[in-house]
């Protein structure tokens, strides 16, 4: 009896030794990430929250000001509202237009046609390059007073246009166009989604005499709804983060008269032009909350779009 008990306890002992060893190995592999996580994610997020309740200019220590930053933001800062307005205007046009283009082209490419992969690659190129300074530089030239767009308008319609960039009414739409131009990546996601739609649904619908429009409305759209929704959330989050084009096209000002003052650009100006680090941190936290809401929605609905796991491709 006693020997069995001894054996059991020594087995338990060695098992717990093995478990400790496993833990050690596991955390050894995890160490780089853990350091990174505490130094570059968790730490900064908490510091950012603290800073958002302070006045801080990098030179002197941060001074606690309570909720002053948030009060100023909501009660006494027209540029905060302007930057929200610019960002939401941008997204109201950019997201639906981009998705509509992406879906339309994906549906054309989904049909078995020669050179489908070639077109797909061509349409994807702008997505790859669109975020770069080089393209923003090009965009600025295209929409200048004597830029290419006006040259084409003059050549085709005899219309003599003004600069689209220096006009506060139109400046933001040149950036919307730049974003819509990059419809390639949602298009690729739509193509992957379209491949999942069972073809017999269309065949059955054809036999019942359904037309192309009805098939789109009754089969494609509902079957693709999760992918459309997912793409939309992704684009909205990306939209909030848009920075480079607005910065380069407006020369860092967000002008003319703040008409391209994206939220991120305003945050950057407050932090690195005016060194109001506390106020900029408060702006960052409001952004975090807004993006958090959208991401939360996407996560809650994630169960509807994970069926791609089994994609045998």
């Amino acid at each position: 009896m006693s020997t069995v008990a001894e054996k059991n306890s020594s087995e338990r002992q060695s098992r717990s030794n093995a478990a400790t060893r496993r833990d050690l190995i596991g955390y050894a592999f995890l160490t780089p990430w853990l350091i990174g996580f505490f130094c570059f994610s968790l730490g900064p997020v908490l510091v950012s929250l603290y800073l958002s309740f302070t006045k801080f200019d990098l030179l002197s220590p941060a001074v606690w000001v309570g909720t002053d930053n948030y009060a100023r933001m909501f009660l006494d800062d027209p540029r905060f509202y302007q930057s929200l307005k610019v960002t939401f205007t941008y997204m109201t046009f950019e997201v639906p237009l981009k998705l509509a283009f992406a879906l339309a082209v994906a549906m054309v490419l989904d049909k078995a046609i020669r050179g489908g992969a070639f077109y797909r690659a061509l349409f994807y190129i702008p997505s790859l390059l669109g975020g770069s300074v080089a393209i923003a530089v090009l965009w600025r030239q295209l929409f200048e007073g004597n830029g290419t767009v006006n040259q084409i308008l003059l050549w085709a319609f005899g219309y003599k246009g003004e600069s689209w960039i220096s006009n506060p009414e139109t400046a933001i739409y040149t950036l919307v166009l730049l974003a819509v131009w990059q419809f390639g990546s949602p298009m690729i996601i739509f193509l992957a989604g379209l491949r999942q739609v069972p073809q017999d649904l269309y065949e059955a619908a054809s036999m019942d005499g359904a037309g192309a429009f009805r098939k789109f409305y009754k089969i494609t759209l509902p079957m693709l709804a999760p992918v459309i929704f997912f793409n939309m959330v992704l684009q909205i989050i990306e939209g909030f983060k848009a920075f480079t084009p607005a910065y380069v096209v407006s020369g860092g000002t967000g002008g003319p008269i703040d008409s391209t003052l994206f939220y991120t650009l305003y945050l950057y100006q407050e932090a690195f032009s005016y060194f109001r680090m506390g106020y900029a941190s408060a702006l960052a936290w409001i952004l975090l909350i807004i993006i958090g809401c959208f991401t939360g929605i996407s996560f809650l609905t994630s169960k509807y779009w994970v069926y791609y796991e089994d994609d045998p491709r």
């Binding site: 592999f29 995890l30 570059f40 994610s41 690659a121 300074v133 393209i135 680090m277 900029a280 975090l288």
Partner: protein, 288 residues
């Protein structure tokens, strides 16, 4: 791929449909790529005709804009390209090594707290960089790292890009467990399994990570803008920005020439790794 086997409409309709579709696609491709083609052509045109010539074929292949533009700033573009390449290569190495080590721990090792840390890691995916930017800046300022490449590189060696960890975890889970279980029986250490079994079998996902790391770093503007001050430390995007600000409207040919060179590496990457890149988007888009 052949999905809709048509029976009803005649050959003529089918042909018309194909012609129409290709016509539409070619037209749309041209419209989309016209700005890029025009920029490439303009980089060979003399300054005097850039604003009036809409053609995408330059009158002659004159490289004057390239040679002049290369040396137009106080530092030559040799410096900026060196900086960009240096940062991009180190970021690629950092991401591939640190993210794969982390992903291996999450995908294959058993240890207490693994699930919790995994969820936490997924949580960092959702964190917009604007929230961490200011404290990170303060941290790097105190470390004396401002105006060096360290803030752009060091976080990548500490697996700061959770997106790639996630991508690799998904891939590692697809590798048959029998392989490493057999290796354990043979007395292989986890480190050896990681290095001798997982890494060689994961080349596709490692390549995808390397490609996207390179492209994103090469295009990155905000990071260099915040952390680099001295012109001798500029990466190519910063140099382009300051080129544009300094010459204004006067040297668009040279500006375009440098812009073409700036996007050329990405374009070449795309030509060589097109399939991997597009699959990466289709997959990661789904799973992000």
């Amino acid at each position: 791929m052949e999905k809709n086997t048509r029976t009803g409409p005649g050959l003529f309709n089918l042909l018309m449909g194909t012609v129409l579709r290709h016509g539409l696609l070619i037209g749309a491709s041209f419209l989309m790529l016209y700005p890029l083609l025009w920029m490439a052509a303009s980089s060979f045109k003399p300054e005097s005709i850039i604003f009036t010539d809409l053609s995408i074929i330059p009158p002659a292949f004159d490289f004057a804009n390239y040679t002049l533009g290369w040396n137009a700033l106080q530092q030559s573009f040799t410096v900026f390209f060196k900086n960009s390449i240096f940062v991009a290569i180190l970021v690629v190495i950092g991401n591939v090594v640190s993210c794969s080590i982390t992903a291996y721990a999450f995908a294959r090792l058993e240890f207490r707290g693994r699930r919790v840390w995994f969820v936490v890691m997924l949580g960092t995916l959702m964190l917009p960089y604007h929230v961490t930017l200011i404290p990170q800046y303060v941290l790097f300022l105190n470390l004396g790292w401002i105006d060096t490449f360290l803030p752009l590189i060091v976080p990548k060696f500490l697996a700061a890009d959770a997106f790639f960890i996630f991508l690799m975890v998904q891939f590692f889970r697809g590798i048959p467990r029998e392989l490493d279980e057999a290796a354990v029986l043979d007395g292989c250490s986890p480190w050896r399994i990681y290095w001798k079994i997982m890494m060689p079998l994961s080349l596709p996902v490692l390549t995808t990570t390397a490609i996207f790391s390179f492209i994103w770093t090469w295009n990155d503007f905000l990071g260099p803008l915040v952390y680099l001050n001295d012109a001798s430390n500029y990466t190519v995007p910063l140099a382009l920005r300051s080129f544009m600000d300094s010459t204004g409207q006067s040297a668009f040919g040279q500006l375009f020439a440098m812009s073409v060179l700036a996007i050329l590496p990405i374009f070449l990457f795309f030509l060589f790794f097109q399939r991997l890149i597009i699959e990466g988007v289709a997959h990661s888009g789904m799973k992000r």
